[in-house]
Amino acid sequence: MLTLQLALRSLRNRRLTTILTVLSIALSVALLVGVETVRRGIRESFAGTIRGTDLIVGARGGSQQLLLSSIFGLGAPAGAVEWSTYQRWARHPAVAWTIPISLGDSYYGYRVVGTTSAFFEHYRYRNDGRVTAGEGRLLERDTDVVVGIEVATRRGLTLGSPVTLTHGLRGTGISDHEEHPFTVVGILSRTSTPVDRSVFITLEGIEGMHEGMPAESPDGWAQPRFAPLQRPGSSAPAAPPSGSPTVMPGAGPPSALPGVAAPLPADDHDHPPVTVAAAEDHAGHDHKLTAFLLGTKARAASLMLQRQMNTDRVEPLTAILPAVALTELWHSISYAEDGARIITGAVLLVGLLGMLVALYSTLQERRREMAILRSLGAGPGRIAALLVLESGLLALVGAVVGVALVYGLLVVGQGIAETHFGVYIPITAPKQLEWLYLGGVVVAGVLVGLIPAWRAYRNTLQDGLTIRL
């Protein structure tokens, strides 16, 4: 008790050093816990990007490729899925619902997702979150556009804004579908998923947009347009991604340019709106999807369906379980996490070394104090304990301040992280790992304190009752 009181008074006496030491430990602990919290937030955000979907189905290819292209809008899909194949599986008795997805166009770099109302009905994220319209309504007509909140904010879109979509995924320029303008009818609520950065139109909208583009591959409009666009007239077209069954759209001859294209049918803008509900009637059309999501009537059927799809004799497909693919993907990038951990661990080590220096450097001037305590009958053990206690206290206070700092920053930064990075970081009580870190920091503080304590112990034995000046 007396030793604790002495430790506290001694630390208070060296206020500036104490505050600086506590701060350096607090910052390193904050970094450690902060990285852990952000990592968990990202992981949960990431894993929560898609929920409730039992299978993601696309053309034969890698599972990561399919997951990244269909859900995260990253990279290129392996190929396309025939409409007839989609229809066949959608009618499978084990299937409860399907969401068709057609990718390949963009709007100022944001991906355009052609889909049906099924998307808004069945797509789930995080904890059973539905994609809903924050403003306006969802897709009904083939000229309707519904945009994610980030697209709306960044591009300054409001309800009624006219939108011109781009053929391919690069900016604007060579093949804008200017002749086929869309109108924003809805702005989606924030989801903190790639949905926020997507533009949704109906499958019919995509179809209408691509009709009358004679240079298109004969396979049809729904061919994924993921590869970099080439300047018209460029001699060597880029190699299509492996597995891509067709030549690259957008790399076609100059006649693909709007304006040079064959005139559109006069009634193109006037044909009666096709409702999304009618999408099921597309069986007769010869077009393709990029992928489709499906939900089963009974979860247990997922594996059976997956096997059947992966061995489909009509069209080579890849069906993946989202949770499994997400976990695989997370593992494949986990070395970055390890890197972050190593760096934060190193920072903590520096913080503790700073404390060691701070304590050790005072030992010389404290030899006097030690000799006085010794003359008063305090043993070398008590003097060593005093120093261990001081460093333990510094580490403890530093750790507590550090954790408080993280929570403070979370309260302030949660909204910012969600708006700017699309990462929702939940504020939760410290988990086991954090407690382990905190305990570890305090233990490390005590261990570090043993070094000056040992030195002080040696000093007191050597000095005895001599006061060295």
Binding site: L2, L6, R9, S10, R12, N13, R368, E369, A371, I372, L373, R374, S375, L376, G377, A378, G379, P380, G381, G464, L465, T466, I467, L469
Partner: protein
């Protein structure tokens, strides 16, 4: 006084920091309880070593040092620390105080470290006794002052109060007045004598200044006592 054990009894004491190089050899010294003894110890006479042996911080190479009849060398180190804190009040030449404690806290330290000294206060609380001693040593006005702002004379009186609280049997003062001017020195000695008498403490006062010796019951000379080679 013969019924009480000797405060300090030294018999055939030999000490060397390294084997074969003795710095201290004292055949016999006896200091009775309640005596006020002046030990003349110019620098280099082995004064620090002798005080370390008496306080139990150093252990004799041969012979015995008994404090109140107890040979500290026979005790384990932690017990000899406790024995020192309980029975000996110690005054340094300078810088006696723990800088981060208040005047009262400095005075109170021995009672908080050692139950026996706390018990000797009887019904008085530690703070009451610390205040009483502070008043007694004419420190009443400085009780709330930071110890780092006290003058050297005031610091030495705080140290004296701390050495005396809980009435230890032996007070060792190692050149406590060498940093004081003559007037302060005389007043300090006067107060120290009075307080030691009140506490019935034996006083071993070490100084190189022989002119102070006349005020003590007895004067010992360390260079004379120490028969080690070179002295």
């Amino acid at each position: 006084m013969s019924d009480r054990p000797l405060a300090i009894a030294i018999e055939d004491l030999v000490f060397g920091y390294r084997p074969g190089r003795e710095v201290l050899r004292v055949s016999a010294v006896s200091i009775a309880s309640g005596e006020r003894v002046f030990l003349h110890g110019p620098s280099g006479s082995g004064k620090t070593t002798l005080l370390g042996l008496i306080a139990g911080v150093l252990r004799p190479t041969a012979g015995h040092v008994r404090i109140l009849g107890r040979d500290l060398a026979t005790l384990p180190p932690s017990e000899s620390d406790g024995y020192r804190g309980t029975h000996i009040g110690y005054l340094f030449q300078l810088f006696n105080l723990i800088p981060y404690l208040s005047v009262l806290e400095n005075i109170a330290l021995p009672c908080r470290l050692h139950a026996v000294r706390r018990a000797r206060l009887g019904s008085r609380s530690i703070e009451e006794e610390a205040r009483r001693l502070a008043e007694r040593l004419e420190l009443g006005a400085f009780i709330d002052t930071a110890v780092t702002e006290l003058s050297v004379g005031q610091q030495q009186r705080v140290a004296a109060a701390r050495a005396l609280i809980g009435r230890p049997e032996l007070v060792i003062a190692d050149e406590p007045t060498s940093a004081l001017d003559t007037d302060l020195r005389d007043r300090f000695l006067e107060l120290l004598f009075e307080c030691c008498a009140e506490a019935e403490a034996t006083l071993l006062f070490v100084s190189h200044d022989l002119s102070l010796g006349a005020r003590f019951d007895r004067v010992l000379s360390l260079p004379t006592l120490n028969c080690a080679g070179g002295h």
